[in-house]
């Protein structure tokens, strides 16, 4: 299973998680883990998701989530998990 990390960074506001999760549910993307924190006053959320059941390709999901982020004024980024694995795990 190839996991994808979705990060959301921006000013905290109502409905950020709802918006992103609705999109994921509509596209049959399973959330494996979700956590959030505040860094320097900014809302930071990270989700580990699994795209394998989705009809959409990584590229599409990445573009569409970025679009949703723009609509609600936050930065949404999709990255494959390997970059974090290789950097933080020996």
């Amino acid at each position: 299973m190839k996991k994808t990390i979705i990060t959301v960074v921006g000013k905290d506001t109502v409905g950020i998680i709802a918006k992103v999760c609705t999109y994921l549910a509509n596209n049959r993307i399973n959330i494996l883990d979700i956590s959030q924190t505040i860094v320097d006053g900014f809302f930071n959320m990270m989700m580990i998701v699994d795209l394998s059941a989705s009809d959409k390709e990584f590229d599409n999901v990445s573009d569409e989530l970025e679009q949703i982020g723009q609509e609600i004024g936050v930065i949404v980024k999709c990255q494959r998990e390997e970059i974090f694995d290789s950097m933080h795990r020996i």
């Binding site: 990060t7 956590s35 930071n44 990270m46 590229d59 980024k77 999709c78 974090f84």
Partner: protein
């Protein structure tokens, strides 16, 4: 499983501290392009490069998207052209023709530099080597993306002083031919001692004859990441300092390793090496000088600079070799002047001289890099500077290089402006005493003895 603080740390490195994959360089052997007819050689070169590198830029973009990490440059290095053109080129114009083909092909496949307009003459020059070297000023004046390098010596062979003397003239001539562009041609010309076959960084990249038909080499960089990490350990012991640099170098190299593996798979080309070099850019916060300051120097050039740089260079290598089994190229810290805002400031403040830079090159990768000197600097003086730097490489069994820019029409204190990644540079003073009688001697400096080290 990955946790949120690790994700935030990685993304902060990318977004705020300029962590990037500096270059994916596709090395391509052109040995099978050799022909007795120069037009046929050009045709073969074009066909081979397009076939091998057609997908390079596209693949680079795909990887960028997948991991959200910038891959700043996609480049190509080729077999030294002196070898490829030897059978076909009868005059300098023939080599210039090949340079133009390289330039056009680079533009066609969308890479920003192509390296390998090179000759390896560490012991002697063939007629073709000399012809290529003499064609460099014209070739660099009429092309945009071609980079040239000449290897004039090695620890095993000694220094080819005939080539060093010639290169002094060639560097000057190249500056004159591109005087209207602040002598830009010289920013694409490197003179080496102990040149590596697998260096992915321009302008000195070429695809060595010992390499496979095609190979992917990746250069990663992140001076800003090291600087930020060091901010957190101010005043701590050397042990803590070194540990922090190593750990950071490890993380940065792992990203390069990931990108290299991915690019290698997608292009169906074997992975060669990772070059972890702290390569600065003119962007604020992307500076090796800033790291030296963070280590504890008021300005690079202050007493202690060479020791600080030695420490930095060594820890970068130590962290890097743990992160990838195939670390190669030049791996270490680069100290170009024009490409590093902190170095430029140190020169302008009077802290950093050419002589101190030369001392610094004894302990870091590469050498006198992107240094503008007065436009009236004599060819023999340039040869003298090259010979000094080559001697450091030869004796210390390391790669050294010289990329000097005689800024035609300019004097000490003036500024040359290259733009983009090449930056701008204050013209630095050169020792005015002559070395003509030394440089004009014919022949070679013999290889050094490897015993009686002291």
């Amino acid at each position: 499983m990955i946790n949120i603080s690790e994700v935030i740390e990685t993304n902060q490195m990318i977004e705020k501290e300029n962590l990037d994959v500096r270059t994916i360089t596709l090395g391509i052997s052109l040995l099978d392009c050799i022909d007795a007819d120069v037009d046929k050689v050009c045709e073969n070169i074009h066909r081979k490069i397009v076939a091998k590198a057609g997908d390079l830029v596209h693949t680079g973009r795909e990887i960028e998207k997948k991991y959200a990490i910038p891959i700043v440059n996609k480049r190509i290095s080729v077999t030294p052209i002196a070898l490829i053109g030897a059978a076909a080129c009868r005059e300098t114009a023939d080599f210039v023709k090949i340079a133009k083909t390289l330039d056009e092909t680079a533009k066609e496949v969308g890479v920003n530099f192509i390296g390998g307009f090179s000759a390896l003459v560490s012991k002697g020059m063939t007629a073709a080597d000399e012809l290529l070297i003499r064609s460099i000023p014209e070739a660099l004046a009429v092309t945009d993306r071609v980079c040239s390098s000449v290897n004039c010596g090695s620890t095993k062979t000694g220094l080819n002083m005939d080539a060093v003397r010639l290169m002094g003239e060639i560097v000057r001539e190249t500056a004159e031919r591109t005087a209207d562009r602040d002598s830009l041609g010289c920013a694409k010309l490197v003179v080496f001692c102990n040149a590596p076959d697998d260096n992915p960084f321009m302008a000195g990249a070429f695809h060595g004859v010992t390499e496979a038909d095609a190979v992917i080499n990746v250069g990663v960089s992140g001076p800003g990441v090291v600087k930020t990490a060091l901010e957190k350990v101010r005043g701590e012991s050397f042990e803590v300092l070194c540990e922090t640099i190593k750990r950071t170098a490890f993380k940065v190299t792992r990203v390069g390793q990931l990108v290299a593996r991915e690019a290698s798979e997608q292009l169906g080309v074997p992975f060669g090496i990772i070059d972890l070099s702290l390569a600065p850019t003119p962007a604020v916060g992307d500076s090796v000088a800033d790291i030296l300051k963070e280590i504890g120097l008021e300005q690079p050039g202050a007493p202690g600079t060479t020791a600080a740089l030695a420490l930095l260079n060594d820890q970068v290598k130590k962290g890097g070799v743990m992160a990838s089994s195939y670390v190669g190229g030049l791996s270490g810290a680069f100290i170009p002047v024009s490409e590093d805002q902190g170095m430029i400031e140190a020169v302008e403040a009077g802290a950093l001289s050419l002589e101190k830079l030369e001392a610094m090159t004894c302990v870091c990768s590469v050498g006198l890099d992107m240094i503008a000197v007065p436009g009236d600097t004599k060819a023999s003086t340039i040869s003298g500077i090259i010979a000094d730097e080559m001697a450091i490489g030869m004796v210390n069994q390391k790669t050294t290089a010289v990329r000097l820019i005689p800024a035609i029409g300019k004097k000490v204190g003036d500024n040359v402006e290259f733009g983009g990644l090449l930056g701008h540079a204050p013209v630095m003073a050169v020792n005015g005493f002559a070395c003509d009688a030394f440089v004009n001697r014919k022949g070679r400096i013999p290889a050094p003895i490897h015993s009686f080290k002291n």
